[in-house]
């Protein structure tokens, strides 16, 4: 097929949106990296963000350090537990904007599938809850029950980490597989055809092209629509279909891929609390941290879903090309999940991996 100017514009839109998402992500990270940088040896030069926001961001690192001091304090003064919970919550909110909390994976997943913002919120909270649970289970079993050494525990953490990255990659591969079909069909169909539907079965490609060649301007009649009705799932499910069982199953794999990897920060806090004889306070802090994390991830997920909605509205006016843009966007998002998984797995992306000393 000849790449017309329209298609080129379609690509431009798709990747502008994708780039905007990546850039936004990068900007948030750059900001937070500075927060960490400024932490214990903060100086004016490091914090280029003025005002309240800058101050709050530079606090991230300090929050984390205060957790240990607060747990110590809680040993003699029970009311310090409230301070601990407050700090943990704040830390969770800021920390989630950093790596390893599934923002990228969950957001990309939501964009790749036609997911609702509500679904995004549920996924964010569920995966954060699972992350907290895994951290508590690791420390509970390894340190509390078995009295294992840090070396053993860190080894377990590393193994889980690799499993999580592999799961993300597999999940991404599956998304690419399912979304790639829709995208290819959108590419192969000519714009007017797209406005109606893409061809549904692989074997129907040729038919479609034949039709195209023979009567370029009048085809895709009702017959195709009927066809679409029973095979709708094969090219991007409708929102209503996602409420069904399959949708939640896919959602669960997202939760598993993201949530299985515990935050190394939480593990340190838990072990420290255990050593102080305040394991329960550590557990409470971990869950509150997870709650904070969930709020940030959910906010970013909702942002991603709305950005996609915006792209949909913008491209809706375009004759036929709209479907191509949307399928391309979904395919791109699916590809991003795969890239993240592979990048994490092979160490191209440093994601706060457990550093065992």
């Amino acid at each position: 097929m000849r790449p017309g100017p329209k298609r080129a514009r379609g690509f431009a839109i798709v990747f502008t949106v994708a780039m905007a998402a990546v850039l936004l992500d990068g900007a948030v990270h750059a900001v937070l990296a500075q927060a960490g940088f400024g932490g214990p040896r903060a100086s004016g030069a490091d914090s280029q963000l003025g005002g309240v926001v800058g101050w709050l961001l530079t606090k991230q690192s300090e929050f984390y350090r205060e957790i240990s001091a607060t747990i110590r304090a809680a040993k003699s003064d029970g009311s310090a537990v409230w301070t601990l919970l407050l700090i943990s919550f704040a830390y969770g909110i800021f920390h989630a904007a950093g790596p390893g909390h599934g923002k990228a994976v969950i957001s990309s997943y939501l964009v790749a599938n036609q997911e609702t913002a509500r679904r995004g919120i549920v996924l964010s909270f569920a995966s954060a809850l699972m992350q907290s649970l895994v951290a508590v289970v690791i420390v509970g079993v390894c340190a509390w029950l078995l009295n294992a050494t840090a070396k053993t525990m860190c080894g377990a953490e590393k193994a889980i980490e690799i499993a999580s990255y592999a799961l993300i990659a597999a999940f991404g591969a599956r998304l690419v597989w399912t979304k790639g079909g829709g995208f290819m069909r959108a590419l192969q169909a000519r714009p007017p055809a797209l406005a109606a539907v893409g061809p549904v079965h692989d074997h129907s490609h040729d038919h479609d092209h034949d039709h195209d060649r023979h009567h370029p301007h009048k085809h895709h009649h009702d017959g195709d629509h009927v066809h679409d009705e029973h095979c709708g799932h094969s090219h991007g499910p409708l929102p209503s279909e996602l409420a069904g069982r399959g949708g939640w199953q896919r959602g669960f794999s997202a939760i598993l891929a993201v949530g299985i990897r515990p935050c190394s920060g939480a593990i340190l806090v838990l072990v420290f609390a255990l050593a102080q004889g305040l394991f329960w306070a550590g557990i409470a802090a971990t869950f509150v941290m997870g709650l904070g994390t969930a709020i940030t991830v959910a906010a970013i997920a909702v942002l991603a879903v709305s950005a996609k909605g915006l792209a949909q509205r913008l491209s809706a006016g375009r004759e036929g090309g709209g479907a191509l843009v949307m399928r391309g966007l979904e395919f791109g998002a699916a590809g991003l999940v795969l890239l993240f998984g592979v990048g994490l797995l092979f160490g191209y992306i440093a994601a706060e991996r457990a550093t065992c000393l």
Binding site: G26, A33, G36, F37, P99, I267, A350
Partner: protein, 213 residues
């Protein structure tokens, strides 16, 4: 044409995603360090000797599951297996120590004289990194940092760096990360354009430079 543009965009997006990622981490472990550069009588540098004190939380974490005769007190012998684990694990991270003599990278041997001390609920790891081949250098640079910034290295306020047995006339300069006038942004670009010798985390580096006549 469109396909080429597509790949262009994809590549750019990917590069950006990767390029920005290493900066995300914030430290989970804090180390207060002090380092000594050891010189031989002939004026060549032979080793770097580190003393790294871990923060409260990490010290507790590292001691998890270790037994001691007296609760809360650990002797050097009781900590020996942990010290062994530490230096073995540090190898993977090249001991977070990166040295150059007159612009040429230096290699280290396996660490020697390593042990841990537990004092005021903080663990301190002592170890010496001998150079593969002692070197006489007019301009020596040693950087200590974690490229992934999982560990924050802050050098001690008092005597962060010492030269042991250095020839007279040798002078050292010590630069803390936040002393750098270059912004993170600039460094990021530089590193991106660099031939890969430096890492993004270099902006967190503590840099010791020694100039000898």
């Amino acid at each position: 044409m469109a396909i080429r543009r597509l790949w262009g965009w994809l590549w750019l997006a990917f590069a950006l995603a990767l390029g920005t990622v290493p900066a995300q981490a914030h430290p989970h472990v804090w180390i207060t360090a002090s380092s000594e550069l050891i010189y031989a009588p002939d004026g060549s540098v032979t080793a770097v000797r580190h003393a790294w004190t871990f923060d409260d939380m990490y010290s507790t974490y590292a001691l998890q599951g270790l037994d001691s005769k007296t609760k809360g007190v650990f002797s050097r012998e009781e900590l020996a297996p942990l010290a062994q684990t530490n230096v073995e694990s540090l190898k993977e991270f090249r001991f977070f120590t990166f040295a150059k003599a007159d612009g040429k990278k230096l290699k280290f041997q396996e660490p020697v004289d390593y042990y841990l001390e537990y004092k005021d609920s903080l663990l301190t790891l002592y170890f010496t990194l001998p150079l593969q081949t002692p070197v006489q250098s007019k301009a020596l640079a040693v950087e200590v940092f974690d490229p992934e910034f999982f560990i924050d290295f802050t050098f001690a306020e008092k005597d962060p760096v010492k030269l042991v047995g250095a020839p007279t006339g040798c002078q050292f300069k010590f630069q803390r990360p936040s002393d750098g006038s270059a912004s993170a942004q600039k460094l990021g670009e530089q590193n991106f354009l660099d031939d890969g010798n430096s890492t993004f985390g270099a902006m967190f580096a503590n840099k010791i430079t020694v100039d000898c006549p």
